[in-house]
Amino acid sequence: MASSNLEGFTADISKSLSGPEWLSEIRNKAYSDLDQVEAPDTEEEVWRYSRVNELKLSELTPNSKRPENLTSLPIDRFSSSSATVVLQDGWISDITIEKEAEEAGVIICPVGDLEDGAKYFGAVLEKPVDLFGYLNRAFGPEPLVVVVPQGTVIKDPIVIVSLTDTNEAVFPRIMVHCEDNSEVKVVEIQTSSNAEAVISPVLEVTVGRAARYSHCVVQNLGAETWQFAHQVVDAGKDASAEFYIAGIGGEYVRTRTDCRLTGRGAFSRINAAYFGEDDQTMDFRTFQDHISSDTTSDLLFKGALADSSRSIYSGLTKIRPEASRTRANQTNRNIKLDPEAWAESIPNLEIENNDVVCSHASTVSPVDEDELFYIESRGVPTSVAERLILEGFFNEIISSFPVQEVSAILQEAIVGKLDRRTLNQSEQQL
């Protein structure tokens, strides 16, 4: 039972949070359910290799106050966006909707502003899957909701900046609802100061019939921040749901992404690039759930691990009995740059239908010796050759991102990490 560790997470704090009545009821229910929730443990398969046992829950308190001062925003580079939202320590602090999106009927607001807001909460994630999910329900401030009306195509991305500047536990929640045949891209930029915050964000997305949804996460948290993220999408008939994840910052960052392909002909993609350095841990769990027939899922995770950084990729592709003519692909490639770096890769397939095409592949290896030799044999110094190979390795992911500005941020972050590495190498040689 987890509650014994949760002295700082009091009923009073949960009750003090603002929002509509139904939300308070959800919080109350989640709070009372905490008694029944087991604390995560690395003995469990879903937490294996994670660092959850290092987390001192008893020393944490939930953030309970809306921050007053808005810090500067890292969104200058978005030349055009349909809307900009700022979440600060999980609280909605600013929403700006451009005219075009507003006229198209796009709704972006605190969930309490909608009369029928309650229907979006838990629309995909009926029940939390772990302690952090329960805490998000019990201690999350009022969630953000995005509704894209039927048939509406929003060209420019909706940019959500999630800033954290506290040493407390923070619980942002975003709920996106794409009605039938709509199309939208959301960019979520996660940053934090060097605070030792523990962030547990939840993202729920429903993608209606034949709708097209893309979500880009730029995880650029501060070096001491921990995160336990859960993002879930439900894709309807002929819908397309795509996730793009740039894993850049944080001390320990766990991202669980569930793609539920409930409609016939639905498609999902999860592409991720991550680059660990120092003692960062990048922890990814994925679940591609093929519920209906003629569904397709594609997954490509590529990571580089430097210094004593670590990564975990653990993914399950599940093909349910009704999911005939499924196509599923799951690929994870890791380059281990230093002897102390460590990567674990566990792709799993669970197939309950015999009319499917599935593949999975995973590798953990140093930079390919033959590739390195080949480039060096053209007169390129070893460290530069390594850089070229790494840039090339990530290029496949970078170029797949649907928002150019996000590709640029990722590219720049990778170049920055490679610069630091080159600098460290040359210092060591001196």
Partner: protein, 259 residues
């Protein structure tokens, strides 16, 4: 052409004191001795051909010269203009003027040829802004399609295209000694003609010294060899002039080597 004058000038200098010298070279792979004392001296503009049966150590010679980490030199010397090559990492050997044309050029996903050649020029302190132009010129001279230059290195290239690509690099990098590891294997007639004529041109105009490793005499219809060496069981067992090729074609290795 400005480039030609520059080359002639350097060639003149090379003629006086340059050479690639291999002395008593012993090489092991995974602890197993493959080369057991190779001696060769190649002067600028010379074409030396190494032939030999399968498993005689031909590819080992090329990889060891360029410094592939799997090939361990256990004894001997390799010098270029008196400079100890074995003490240098691969990239510095390349900077010193050594070039290896691989038998099976490596595919490097996501990395363009232009970026590699630019970084090589940068490391040498040479002008990098002209690399693309040089690439285009070389590509045209060997019939390498321009659009293929945009691809990641060797990815989705045919066997012939890969060898043209290697030859293009040889030209741009202005190497002084080239080790050609079976550059002719798997090439169609047109590609072989383009590649071998270009290399012959380098030996003639730029005094490129060549160590060509091959199974077949057809490369030598264009490339004019000065010396033929027969490699067998890790040693050069016979050296002669171009006439040795005909003799080999008629008699085979067994008879020629007196086994």
């Amino acid at each position: 052409m400005v480039g030609v004058n520059r080359w002639r000038k350097r060639g003149d200098r090379d003629m006086t004191n340059s050479s690639l010298v291999i002395k008593n070279l012993h090489v092991s792979v995974s602890g197993k001795p493959i080369l057991k004392g190779i001696n060769l001296e190649i002067l600028p503009g010379e074409v030396h051909v190494v032939m030999g049966p399968n498993g005689s150590g031909k590819s080992t010679l090329s990889y060891a010269l360029m410094g592939h980490p799997e090939y361990e030199v256990t004894e001997g010397e390799v010098t270029l203009d008196g400079k100890d090559m074995l003490a240098l990492p691969s990239w510095q050997r390349a900077q010193a003027g050594l070039f290896l044309c691989l038998q099976h050029p490596i595919e490097v996903p996501g990395v363009t040829l232009e970026s590699v050649l630019t970084e090589s020029a940068r490391a040498a302190g040479r002008e990098t802004s002209t690399i693309k132009k040089q690439m285009l010129e070389e590509a045209e001279s060997i019939g390498f399609e321009e659009k293929l230059l945009e691809r990641p290195m060797n990815v989705d290239l045919s066997g012939g295209e890969k060898k043209r690509n290697e030859t293009l690099q040889l030209g741009v990098l202005s190497a002084r000694y080239a080790v050609l590891d079976e550059i002719d294997s798997g090439l169609d007639v047109d590609a072989l003609a383009a590649v071998s004529q270009r290399i012959q041109g380098f030996t003639h105009d730029q005094n490129l010294g060549v160590l060509a490793i091959t199974h077949f005499s057809r490369l030598l219809e264009v490339l004019e060899p000065d010396k033929i060496h027969i490699l067998n069981d890790g040693c050069i067992q016979l050296t002669g002039g171009p006439e040795l090729v005909n003799q080999l074609e008629e008699e085979g290795y067994q008879v020629l080597l007196g086994n």
